[in-house]
Amino acid sequence: MNSVIFLTIVLLALSSYFFGRKKAILIQSNKRLTALPKFYGYYLAIWCGAPAFLLYALWSIFEPSIVRFFILSDYSSQGLLEGELNLFYEKVKSLSRNQYSGELTAELQRSAEKYLNFRDIAKWSKVVIVLSLLIASTGYAYTKISNNTKTREPVEIFLKGVFFLSSLAAILTTIGIIFSLLFQTIEFFQVIPLFDFVFGMHWYPAKAFVRDASEALDPSMYSDTFGAVPIFAGTFFIALIAMCVAIPIGLLSGIYMAEYASKRLRQYAKPVIEILAGIPTVVYGFFAALTVGPFLKDLGLSLGLEVSAESALAAGGVMGIMIIPFISSLSDDVITSVPQNLRDGSYAMGATKSETIKRVIIPAALPGIVGSILLGVSRAIGETMIVVMASGLAANLTLNPLESTSTITAQIVVILIGDQQFGDPKTQAAFALGLSLFIVTLVLNIVALSVVKKYREKYE
């Protein structure tokens, strides 16, 4: 039904374009118009489509919760918990779709009938009201247009408004991220003290088994369960290993590309190295788990070392390979933008090329290089699939790269894979982790971007 209404609105708006234009052409036969006839068409189409569509969208968003309110208002005085009401409402809905297989009660049946009845009323009144608004607004605009109505200006203002709304999408996304994370996190900290989360040394979300929704929460059940220190430590540890691989290789190849490489080498090697950045991370994860992990384990055995098949080294090392192109191409750009006269001055003093690079160019380009490294760190911290597939899922507090550790991202996946129960501290814990991840990467990005921006301004 919804798509039928939507299509009707679109079709009517399209056809009113032709009516508007036709009327303009008729007027044109004896009077001068203020705009091209097509603007009269656009004008009418907007008046036809926009109000009706807006009403339709608002109605569709609010209808379910209003129907729910009416159905459950019969039971609001019985002192039921929120969870029970939800369960009851789900039962009513599935009964009305004839998919209910549980115990039938008179109440349930009555509510299901009421539900169907309300849905029917809502559906038809939606059709009638939306269509009558459409006819009214189109009729108003149609009678209004004459030879000296302004049509181009309103149409352009409308378009500009649509453009402006689109530009808000990015802000809305950020707000959506912050709110979805914040609400769940605040609820989480009402059960688990903030101090226990930030400084707790044990992370065993599996201990918080799925509980009965109708029972009240018992905070003591969760003591010593959600201490995030091991996973914060694991996250930074794996990121550190990754940077140990990525910084030397990325930086040196960036320097070589910028200062030594012939034009041909640059032309071919640069895009090939950048392929590494385009490979999906799940593919790296598979590579780390299938090849690198077992390889390190065998290598460790031959050296007499105990290496876990899912070691932090395997995950971090492969993650480092993934980050190489970020660092190499960013530092390449940064070094290329160092002014030539700095180099010339150094050569004139008799310095070799490598001495110039080490003593003049790198110090000059340092802020930019630091910025690129910070962006790499932010990538490493936010990387998910490699860790999920190649490192362990148990949060060990260890500094031995040969053992397995876990990260923030991996724990979010572990908790949220499969069915989630909203309102459960375990699910909320994932959102709390997500918020900490968001904050850490946001700070890193802001610092890195502002450092790079300042650096660019210096030499431009």
């Binding site: 649509v162 979805s180 590494l276 999906p280 994860g285």
Partner: protein, 422 residues
């Protein structure tokens, strides 16, 4: 140390530094080569499928059908091909014991019933005759034939038993083991059995997600970029939007998964595990990438174009829509394709919104539960059977093929249609 020695030392240091740079580039390229070789060498076998060709006697008695009458389609559909299959397998080794019969059965994929039935439906003339029928070999024998399972280890550590291998070798000597292009890998949905699992369901899931993503992200991003580049006044609010877009581009993808879960599923109540929700989540993720690309290409359109249009009496909106945007379109499109390629390889956000469900049907609309290609890689990589390893690699090859294809397309659009302004 005299002057010459110092100079020699400095030149040596120069040579060393150059060597480090070359070594770093070589290492990066080496990683790529090792990586691709590993994927291709484990994956190419998945494009071959092993079949066992065995003689089948479509005897009326074995099928409990009337021998004098030609069976109708319904008769065949109602017939019991399980028992018939077992009887057929016994002909491979008439002396087989009860246990060995079960092992014989396990040499074939569990779809043998269907395969025997469809052969008869397609070739009704073979009723009452003995014909050679091609049946899918089990995953274990498939892997043995491809050389992925070692045969020389003790029997209890092997998936295929000595008995199965004996029968298999005999069939092989008779030329009854054949290997053909594995079309079912592309046409089947996911399955618990490695020999039957295919990528059709996850491919459709990816396709729908990308289409949803494209239809949301491209228009919104283009309009947003046009507003910010052409209409927006320079003030604090537009600066804020700009900072916001840059930061959003660097937010880890899993956070978008949490957004999808916390807002799209929990608040708006959209259906779980569907490409619709996956596509919306991915579109929020690719939005900043496309906006940045579109702004860059709008910026590259020289002001003289705008001035010429304005001088001819076009309004600001007409100038933008008739001249600036069409000229910026190639750059925007190539940025969009690159953004979509990123979205196509994304896994973590889709896992959070439930697109990891086991789906053994091919989704027909974006509202049906589905997996996606990268999630399929994850699901198969997590399962223990050896047969899935080559499937994972093959799926990676398919995914990489699409990514390369999309990136080349983006390059092509950029080089072919973008105007160079001097």
């Amino acid at each position: 140390m005299n002057k010459e020695e110092r100079l020699i030392k400095r030149y040596k240091a120069e040579k060393r530094f150059q060597f480090y740079g070359k070594a770093a580039i070589f290492m990066a390229l080496l990683f790529l080569v090792v990586f691709l070789t590993k994927i291709f060498s484990t994956g190419y076998t998945a494009f071959q499928k092993t079949w066992l060709v065995i003689p089948v006697n479509y005897n009326a008695d074995l099928l409990y059908l009337d021998p004098d009458k030609k069976p109708t389609t319904e008769d065949i559909n109602d017939a019991d091909f399980y028992e018939f299959g077992i009887e057929t397998f016994i002909t491979l080794d008439p002396d087989a014991s009860e246990d060995q019969i079960m092992e014989l059965k396990k040499m074939f994929a569990f779809t043998f019933e269907r395969e025997l039935k469809y052969y008869l439906l397609d070739n009704p003339d073979s009723f009452g005759k003995t014909v050679d029928v091609k049946l899918t070999a089990s995953d274990d024998l498939d892997q043995v034939f491809k050389g992925n399972y070692p045969r020389d280890i003790p029997e209890n550590r092997r998936r295929a038993s000595d008995y199965q291998l004996k029968i298999f070798d005999k069939l092989n000597e008779d030329g009854r083991v054949i290997s053909e292009f594995n079309a079912s890998f592309f046409t089947n949905a996911d399955s618990r059995e490695a020999e039957l699992a295919g990528i059709a369901s996850s491919f459709m899931g990816s396709l729908f997600s990308i289409l949803v993503c494209l239809s949301i992200a491209f228009p919104v991003a283009l309009l947003a970029a046009v507003y910010l580049e052409e209409f927006a006044p320079k003030n604090r609010f537009t600066d804020f939007i700009e900072v916001n877009i840059n930061n959003l581009a660097a937010v880890p993808s899993i956070v978008f998964g949490l957004l999808g879960l916390g807002v799209l599923l929990a608040v708006f109540g959209l259906p779980r595990s569907t490409p619709l929700v996956g596509g919306i989540t991915l579109s929020l993720m690719t939005l900043p990438t496309i906006i940045i690309a579109a702004r860059a290409s709008l910026k590259a359109v020289p002001p003289s174009i705008r001035e010429a249009a304005l001088a001819m009496g076009a309004s600001k909106m007409q100038t933008t829509m008739h001249h600036t945007v069409p000229l910026a379109l190639p750059g925007t499109l190539s940025g969009t394709i690159i953004g979509l390629a990123q979205a196509l390889g994304e896994t973590a956000p889709l896992i959070l919104i439930g697109m990891v469900a086991f789906v053994n049907t091919i989704p027909g609309t974006p509202m049906d539960p589905a997996a996606s290609l990268p999630v399929q890689i994850y699901i198969w990589a997590e399962s223990a059977e050896r047969g899935f390893v080559e499937k994972v690699s093959a799926c990676i090859m398919v995914l990489l093929f699409f990514l390369i294809f999309m990136n080349l397309g983006a390059q092509l659009i950029r080089h072919k249609f973008e105007k160079k302004w001097n």
